[in-house]
Symmetry: none
Subunit: 211 residues, 4 copies
Amino acid sequence: MATNNPAPPDSTRRSERSRRAIYDAAIALVVEVGYPKTTIEGIAARAGVGKQTIYRWWPSKADVLLEAFLDLSEQAARAAGQEPESGGAYGIPDTGDLAADLKLVLRATVDELRDPAFEAPSRALAAEGVVNEELGRRFVAQLLEPSLQLYVDRLRSAQEAGGVRPDVDPRIALELFVSPLAQRWLQYTGPISYEYTDTLVDYALNGLAPR
Amino acid sequence: MATNNPAPPDSTRRSERSRRAIYDAAIALVVEVGYPKTTIEGIAARAGVGKQTIYRWWPSKADVLLEAFLDLSEQAARAAGQEPESGGAYGIPDTGDLAADLKLVLRATVDELRDPAFEAPSRALAAEGVVNEELGRRFVAQLLEPSLQLYVDRLRSAQEAGGVRPDVDPRIALELFVSPLAQRWLQYTGPISYEYTDTLVDYALNGLAPR
Amino acid sequence: MATNNPAPPDSTRRSERSRRAIYDAAIALVVEVGYPKTTIEGIAARAGVGKQTIYRWWPSKADVLLEAFLDLSEQAARAAGQEPESGGAYGIPDTGDLAADLKLVLRATVDELRDPAFEAPSRALAAEGVVNEELGRRFVAQLLEPSLQLYVDRLRSAQEAGGVRPDVDPRIALELFVSPLAQRWLQYTGPISYEYTDTLVDYALNGLAPR
Amino acid sequence: MATNNPAPPDSTRRSERSRRAIYDAAIALVVEVGYPKTTIEGIAARAGVGKQTIYRWWPSKADVLLEAFLDLSEQAARAAGQEPESGGAYGIPDTGDLAADLKLVLRATVDELRDPAFEAPSRALAAEGVVNEELGRRFVAQLLEPSLQLYVDRLRSAQEAGGVRPDVDPRIALELFVSPLAQRWLQYTGPISYEYTDTLVDYALNGLAPR
DNA sequence: TGTTAACCGAGACGGTACGTCTCGTCTTGCG
DNA sequence: CGCAAGACGAGACGTACCGTCTCGGTTAACA
């Protein structure tokens, strides 16, 4: 019997200009004043847009920010795609030396985590996701999991090459070095450095027990 | 110098009864309606207390909840102390079998993470801590770090017994199995189970590379 | 120069329904609980209106009440206009007998001062006007002075007819019988009755000294 | 069965110093910030007195101010009594020329009404009295009526001397020139000047009608 | 090419909560 | 026991945003 609640808006007539302005305003405000002080009224005012234009297309502040951040990531990706040398998040290099490859990528992640332009909206979304399961799952599915999948791929390649035991589940294995970094960043449980991530890779590959 | 602006209240005259009522109301509301819908007005009303009594003693909603949660933990700890068999958070058992001991404690943690009475306030505080560095650090220092220290102790004991390589930094090592669990819980990046934590311990101790 | 700070609201979009509800609620509350216990929150709640709708259009409680009372007077006036026999506030009768005409009107005023529906808000505004000069002057200009002007007109007519000395200033002369009644009512300096106002007219017209 | 409500305080142990300080603080605050912004907390703080000391002895802010003002008047009276030449409010001169005597006293009243030290508390009390009948009646009985009685006395003397008709009620007669001045002052219905009060006396004594 | 239906900006509306202020009561030492 | 001090329960203050609801105005696609 079809959805009949508030009559869904006609997305073909949507103003692209407004959408862009809203994304930009949302990101800018989160960076400038933080997520809790970013309000829908503020976004609308900054974007030069009526409040209803936001409420028409997004159900909540968190959703605006999630889309804005996805958009930002795509832009960054497109920009990165232009300079194809950068391994970046687009495929983990496979030099045959697993430890070296992982250390390289984690060092790049450390750099990214320290970039204020990414940090503020990332934290905002992560925090909202902690407390709002639905958004959290979307955040993970759309932003986190694709990146983690790259580790899965690299670990599987290493398994084929004999550098990782074949009975190891790569999806769990990657957490041994990714999650510690994530937790230190999210919860301020410790400092983040290249040395630290290098150590994580070594511990994870070699284990804590004597060989 | 000396006394400054708002004249700090005289803590010797503080009403113990009000403090307790505020703790209880805060925890109850977070469990019932979630952190964002928990308001200071609501806490005050539920506790049968004037709003000013909250503003007098705490600077923000997050601080109320942090203290309330600390208090809750202490109560739980005291209760646990009554039944001294429970290893609980008070020291990790040391049977000589490191893997078994860690698995046991992580299974207990899994249970705790699933207890709704702990989950709601924990998430609320963790989320606020992600976005509010000062609170995050206090959350870690007062709640998380003491627990992690127990792992440090147990790992050091294992190092002396030869079950862990002597060059390993225990504070980092513990993150190999604790952080993955934390991240799955915080960010819904994957399911949580006894099997999962058992696997984490095995991977961390033995490493991913073939031996 | 030109438009300054808080951006004045667009009065064309104002809700007539809300305005009416606010007037009614304000008058009702002043009658029921008195001026000091009439709060903006109370008016808003009673009118089924958001507080901001009051703060948007009026700068203070006193202003709300002044307008509400002006509105009430206009309503009463329109109602009185329907029954055109009533001299009421709309012109003092001019039968040629000045004393009789004044006594008649003052007796009507006595009745009005005793009507509880008028008394509570009138007192409230008068009291506020005593202590708040700006409001007091508006109260006088918009409510009191128009009524007093009717006496001026009647006295001038009497001067033309020779019943009042031509050198008398009617604006002052009217105070001889109007102000005593006003003061007794405002300050409880004495009882109010037809006999009293009749006496005032006689004393004022004939003077205290023997003729 | 005697009043037994809150156990009446023992007035013999009352602190005279506190009472004085409270009077002074109350008057000073009303003059400085106006009656509505004068709070009990503010009086207590300024007087260096506990709030309870005020609540113990007075039922309301208005009562404090009424007593403070009565006290002030007594002080002023005692001061005036020292310089016995001043006719002041203490007896209206009786030179035989009623009009001249009244004009003189009313001119002194005009001066008093313009003295800011008297104006602020007088207005405050008058305003409160408009809206609070009980206080209003006490204000009149203790402050106003004694002054008015002096006019009664002078008018009676004039009646004996034949300057005022014997059938005139002096208590009403005095209102012909006193109330207009009172109303202009209270309600800002017109300017106050010597010329104005002189005119009032002339009109009242001679009447408005031609002789 | 003129009509019309939508999205658009703007912002008023009924509400909720904020953090502050003051009320009048209650509690705790000091003298 | 009166007092200074001030914490307390209560609740109004005026502000900021919430999410909904009109308002014209513009801007397509259709007639």
